[in-house]
């Protein structure tokens, strides 16, 4: 699928939203700090807002073209929208909510059948209840199911995990992954949480103050931010796939390229994970001798040194590519040189595991 946004200009309260980008992947995260214009962008794509100028095309269908005064009405766009406050209809039962977008007449695609969708999202027992009787997580799933049952060709999710607490977040992520894998609907997902983006998206669009500052595949943007602004928002220098070997006492043992790391156990159990380590969380030490509280001590070799402002970005081989950010003075003090061995210390809480 392809979603093209060109010449978009929408004046907002403090700035003007001006974007130009195209996304082709299954799940795209629109990432940025609060107030960056992300929700307004979703509203534009859904047709709920009119821009001063915009050209929006989904696959081969032009949704909006202000130059030619074309604007497909909202109810004809076939775009599913799950807003941040979910907007479940309080006066209808869960069943009536779910079936609201159902086109009358006929079986349609069994993929989007009532049974299948409610099965995937595990909401069958809730169907006869009233909307106000549901818990936060249940409401989220119902809202997602409702959007899916309308057989959308694009799904817009506005901060799907923002209003949930951590354990609940980790519970919902698998459902979102299921949606991505089972229903294969292109999805535009707004988030301000980089781990959410990592967990859900293939591609990411970074939006700051109404402007796109970087787009690209998630790992690339996160490890190679285009400028300091993006770096501040997303930068995670080390991103490596790993497997959870063991979980006990609240800790997880992860294997990355046959190197074992100890991290805090994530709430959701998932075998395959993405191991995320920020550069500033990696401590370099000359000798590994004395005992310390750090659980992860890796013998590594310095591969390269690259100055980054007041810091130096040190690329290491610790059995897997590991990046550290240290001050220049520290670099000089430790006499870091390419090819030399060094010990890398990483505290367990500094290793983030994102289920994949």
């Amino acid at each position: 699928m392809s979603l093209l946004l060109k010449n978009v200009s929408l004046p907002l309260a403090h700035f003007t939203l001006k974007v130009d980008f195209e996304v082709r992947s299954r799940v795209t995260a629109v990432f940025g700090p609060s107030g960056a214009g992300k929700t307004s962008l979703l509203d534009l794509v859904a047709g709920l807002r009119a821009a001063r100028s915009a050209f929006i095309q989904l696959d081969d269908c032009v949704l909006t073209d202000t130059a030619k005064s074309i604007s497909v009405p909202v109810h004809q766009r076939g775009i599913g929208y799950v807003p941040q406050d979910l907007a479940l209809f309080p006066h209808l039962s869960v069943r009536r909510n779910l079936l609201y977008g159902r086109k009358s007449g006929g079986a349609g695609d069994p993929l989007f059948s009532f049974e299948h969708v409610t099965d995937v999202l595990e909401i069958q027992p809730l169907v006869s209840r009233g909307v106000t009787e549901l818990s936060g997580g249940e409401k989220q799933r119902v809202a997602l199911a409702r959007a899916l049952l309308a057989s959308p060709r694009l799904l817009l999710l506005d901060e799907p995990l923002a209003s949930l607490d951590s354990p609940l977040k980790e519970k919902i992520i698998p459902y979102l992954s299921r949606i991505r894998d089972e229903f294969r609907i292109p999805t535009l997902c707004v988030t301000h949480d980089r781990f959410e983006a990592l967990a859900l998206a293939d591609e990411i669009v970074v939006l700051v103050d109404g402007r796109v500052v970087q787009t690209g595949p998630v790992p690339e943007v996160f490890t190679r931010p285009a400028n300091a602004e993006v770096a501040r928002l997303v930068a995670i220098e080390t991103l490596q796939p790993g497997s959870v070997i063991r979980m006990s006492e609240g800790l997880a043992t992860v294997s990355v390229n046959r190197v074992t790391l100890t991290a805090l156990a994530p709430a959701a159990t998932s075998h395959e994970v993405l191991v995320c380590i920020r550069g500033e969380d990696v401590i370099l030490q000359r000798d590994a001798a004395s005992a310390s509280s750090v659980r992860n001590r890796l013998s590594a070799r310095v591969l390269s040194l690259r100055p980054q402002g007041a810091l130096v970005r040190v690329e290491l081989d610790a059995g897997f590519p590991l990046f550290a950010l240290v001050t220049r003075s520290a670099c000089a003090e430790l006499n870091l040189r390419e090819g030399e061995p060094i010990t890398a210390l990483i505290k367990a809480p500094a290793i983030h595991l994102v289920p994949r």
Binding site: A46, L48, P73, V74, H75, Q76, R77, G78, I79, G80, Y81, P83, D85, A87, F89, P90, H91, Y100, G101, K103, R146, A147, A150
Partner: protein
């Protein structure tokens, strides 16, 4: 209470209910537009709609007399085209009641519409519902309590209407005599006890109307 009195009560109730139903679609439409749309000069329309509520009713009645009379803009047209009289018939009463209670209905309906979360309407549209479907399946059901309270109050206002009605109705016994006009006439004629009996009926009607409207509004608050 004589048979004639009950006829007056029945006529008052019937014409009040009819006028309330007659203004319902227009009142809802206007209330929706005022709740959901903005345009330059909107406050002018709002003020205009509220006028019958704040002007002396007889002043509104006078305007209606001029318009609905046989030589008036509307009354004249009906008289010439269809040989139909409006002034001094039940039609004039219905119109007077409708005009006087219209601002009440619009006010309450508007508040009710404004309290419907616009996000719900937007999401309904993304689910494929066109404008009318959204209105009837989402907006109206969610605004129903407030609208009903407004309807009841409009009905109560119509029941008690006097100033405008006396200008255009003619108080024709058996034809255009309403409860309030009848009370007035009985006082004029010195028939106080008769007037008090009619007064009792009108108090009961007004009480029932306002009480049920309060009841609805309270229930609405409780479920929130």
């Amino acid at each position: 209470m004589t048979g004639e009195d009950w006829h007056v009560v029945w006529f008052t109730a019937w014409v009040s209910a009819s006028s309330t139903l007659a203004i319902l679609p227009f009142g809802l439409a206007l209330a929706w537009v005022l709740a959901r749309r903005n345009w330059p000069g909107k406050s002018l329309l709002e003020t205009f709609v509220s006028l019958p509520l704040v002007m002396p009713p007889v002043a509104t009645g006078l305007i209606l007399l001029k318009i609905l009379g046989r030589r008036g803009a509307i009354g004249g047209w009906f008289h010439d085209q269809f040989n139909l009289d409006i002034i001094f018939t039940w039609r004039a009463v219905l119109i007077a009641l409708g005009v006087m209670s219209f601002p009440l209905l619009v006010h309450f309906a508007r508040v009710a519409f404004e309290e419907v979360n616009p996000r719900l309407e937007q999401i309904a549209r993304t689910l494929g519902a066109g404008g009318w479907r959204v209105f009837f399946t989402i907006t109206l059901p969610l605004a129903a309590r407030g609208i009903t309270a407004g309807l009841i109050l409009a009905f109560a206002r119509a029941l008690g209407e006097f100033g405008a009605t006396i200008m255009v109705a003619g108080n024709i016994p058996g034809k255009t005599s309403t409860l309030s006009l009848s009370i007035f006439q009985n006082v004029q004629l010195g028939e106080d006890s008769h007037a008090f009996r009619l007064l009792g009926v009108s108090v009961v009607l007004a009480f029932a109307a306002v009480w049920s409207s309060q009841f609805l509004m309270h229930r609405k608050c409780k479920t929130k």
